[in-house]
Structures are given as structure tokens and as C-alpha cells.
Symmetry: C2
Subunit: 217 residues, 2 copies
DNA sequence: TGCAAAAACGGGGTGGCCCTCCATATCGTA
DNA sequence: TACGATATGGAGGGCCACCCCGTTTTTGCA
């Protein structure tokens, strides 16, 4: 059996200069990712941080881990938002609002979508799926509530929804007016492309019911 | 004024060895892209084709151009499919069938989605947007017919639909069972996440109307 | 058929990237 | 202050995209 488990914090609290460099790298990475997206050059990040590339790789053994560290707090904001929306009296509205918030964050923080996308799949096990897991957890609460209220199809999973959101954000990333387009496409995907009755506003996601014609004989 | 315009074919019909190498590169690229996706190494392609890397770059000055050449005939198949579906008595069904066909091609041909995505945006002007343009043209016919039949929202554009399709395909690419998942997500996006009445089958895209409750007071 | 210009070729160079080794510098403490 | 554990970063290897330019092949014409 293993000698000892120390889950949250290794006894070594990290040396002062190490922590300083860690922070520097994180800041430089945030800049670089904002500028170039998730594919930003790691050497460039190390250069901006004023450290050697080896130091960067020691602190963040994979690109995914670096991205996770960069976006951790933004993801926490989204999770908190989900918590707040749990009190919304309208479960459907809460869910769609949150998904839109996720999309808004993803398009305004280049690379976030790519970071959230990579879940468990892809090579190394348990090597940086934290953000993905956090978001899934946060969204699940909103989804089950909406499902209980019969406001979403019973077969829709949180993975479905998040994949759609991230796919859309990834697709419109680096487009002229990405935020608006992402919101528009998300509204479309949530409401469907078939015409709702009166609904004339901006791709309103609610009130899907109504009189209609059957389009398939 | 310009001396002369010769739109379709430059008078030089390409030397025999040049055409031979062109074909070889194309074949090698098809293999490599099938194996590694749109990010396949160009040097590896040149190596497989038995030509120098300079030759590859001469024939295909950009990765995008090479991908377009690789996928040209598949895109033509999709365009032909769109033509066939124009005779479908049900415009809505024709449109969704075609979008599903696009998705099916995109997931089964690694890199196609990425190739179709890059439209006009991104650096050089008119440097490889042919596939994108062809697909847009083909889809527009189906969309306007569906729109006339009031089977789609009037504000939905073909760009919206194709972006959704490509985004989904890009997202599920290299997932275990990508094709099924892409089809499922596309069905979701086309029909919306809100519950349809009886509709119990596989994410049926039609008959979006139904009895419901107003979800926003 | 023979030949010279044009066209195409590809080896090798440049510069970038990711990642690792190890001699050196720095920090925390006895 | 002095020592050992810890952290550093320059150098180097492997891979890649892309380009320069001397060489080879093809072609059109005499």
C-alpha cells in the first residue's frame, strides 16, 4: 500500500523565487494567450516572462496545464454564476442565461473555448481536465433543474450543451464580430431553426411552443 | 489597361512531369490528411510523394490550397447532392438532409471541416476559399426554398447553418464515435433543445411545434 | 534529329518551435 | 556564516515550414 497521501498541498511550500517566476509566467501567458489564442508560443511566453524555457516547462509540464492555470479564475467566475442562477425562478431561463455567459466568456477570452474543450480524451490521463470538470459540474445543476421543469428535452446532456457552446465559440473565434455572432448562433442552436410563432426578437430561446404546421407529410 | 485576360486556363498547360508530381502530392496529401487530419506535416507529405519539399510548396503555396485540392471532389459530391435534393418535395427535409450529409462528410474526412471553415477571413485575399464558396452556393438554393416554404426562420442564413455544422464537426473530430455524436448534436441544434411533443425518435428535426408552458413570466 | 531556352526539380540553409540535460546560482536554515 | 536542497536557464536535439539557387528534365523549333 502507498506510504502516505497528501491530496491538497505538498509539504514543500515552494521557494520564494519559484513562486515569483510562477506568477510571472502566468501573467505573461495570459497576455500571450489574449493576443494569439491557445496556440501561443511557449518560448515567447517564457521570453516575455524573463525566464528560460526550461523553467516554464518545469512549472507547467503541458500546454493544457498552463491554459488551465491561466483560466482557472475565469472558470470559477462562471461556476459562481451558475450558483447564482440556481436561485432563478425560471429554470429554463437560468440554463440558457448561463450557457450564454459561458459563450461570452469563451469568445472574449481567446483560448478559453479550446481549453474547456479538451476534457478527458487526448493522451495523458488526468493531466489537466480540471476546468472542463468544473464547468460540467456547475452546469449539471442547472440542467437537472431545467429537466425537472420539463423545459429541456430529457435526452439532452450537459456535455451536449457545452460541446455546442464551445464548438460555436471555437468557430467564431477570430472573426470580426465574434461575440455577437456566437450569441446569435447559440440562440439558434438552443431554439432550433424552425420558425417560432410571434417571436420576433433576437433569437429568443424561450417559448418554443405554439401553433404550427407539420412540415413532413 | 491590361493586355489580355485569360480567365479559365493559362496557355501553358503544365509540363508532363509537373502534372505527374502534382498528382503524386495530391494522393500523398489525401493519405496523410486521412491519417493525421488537417495538421498533417507538409514535409511528410512531400516525403511520401517522393518529391522535395520545395516542389510541394511550388504546387501548393499554402496549406489551405492543398487541402482545397484534396477535398475538391468531395465538395463537388456535396454540391451535386444539393442539386438532387432540390427536387425533394419537402424543402425542410431537403435542407436538413443536406446539412446532415455535409456533417457526415466532414466527420468521415478528417480535415474537411477545418478546410471548409476557413472562408474569406484569415490573411491573404482570395487564397483558397473555393470550397467554402462552393458549399455556400450549393446550400443557398436549398435554404431559400425552405424559407419560401416557411420551414425555417426568415433570419437564418446559410452561413449560420454551415458554421454550426462545421463547428460541430470540428468539435467532435477525433472523438471516439464522432459521426454519431455529430449527427446527434446537429439534430439538436436544428430542432432546439426544448421538448417537442411526441417526437421520441432520434432527435427528429421536424415538427418543432407543440403544447408547452410559458417559461418566462 | 539535335539543341537551347524554359520549366521544373530538390538539396540544403534559415529560423522557429517544443522539450530535456546538467552545470550553475539562489534560497532557507542550522 | 556555511551548507544542502531547490530552482534556474543556456545549450542542444529533433521536428517543422519555407526559400534560395544550382542542376536536371522537358519542350518547341529548326
Amino acid at each position: 500500500m502507498p506510504k502516505d497521501s497528501r491530496p491538497p498541498s505538498p509539504p514543500r511550500p515552494m521557494r520564494a523565487d519559484a513562486r515569483r517566476n510562477y506568477e510571472r509566467i502566468l501573467a505573461a501567458a495570459a497576455d500571450a494567450v489574449a493576443e494569439y489564442g491557445a496556440e501561443a508560443s511557449l518560448e515567447e511566453i517564457a521570453r516575455r516572462a524573463g525566464v528560460g524555457s526550461a523553467t516554464l516547462h518545469r512549472h507547467f509540464p503541458s500546454r493544457q496545464l498552463l491554459l488551465e492555470a491561466v483560466f482557472r479564475d475565469k472558470v470559477e467566475v462562471l461556476c459562481a454564476t451558475a450558483g447564482d442562477l440556481a436561485a432563478d425562478p425560471d429554470p429554463a431561463h437560468a440554463l440558457t442565461s448561463w450557457l450564454r455567459a459561458v459563450a461570452a466568456h469563451a469568445v472574449s477570452n481567446r483560448g478559453l473555448a479550446a481549453s474547456l474543450m479538451r476534457g478527458v480524451r487526448d493522451g495523458d490521463p488526468a493531466l489537466g481536465a480540471t476546468c472542463h470538470a468544473m464547468i460540467v459540474d456547475a452546469g449539471t445543476g442547472l440542467l437537472v433543474r431545467a429537466r425537472r421543469a420539463k423545459a429541456v428535452r430529457p435526452d439532452v446532456s450537459i456535455t451536449d450543451l457545452l460541446t455546442l457552446v464551445n464548438a460555436i465559440c471555437l468557430a467564431v473565434e477570430r472573426e470580426p464580430d465574434g461575440a455577437a455572432r456566437a450569441d446569435r448562433l447559440l440562440g439558434l442552436a438552443l431554439a432550433g431553426v424552425h420558425p417560432a410563432r410571434e417571436a420576433a426578437g433576437d433569437t429568443p430561446p424561450s417559448r418554443p411552443e405554439g401553433s404550427g404546421r407539420s412540415s413532413r407529410p
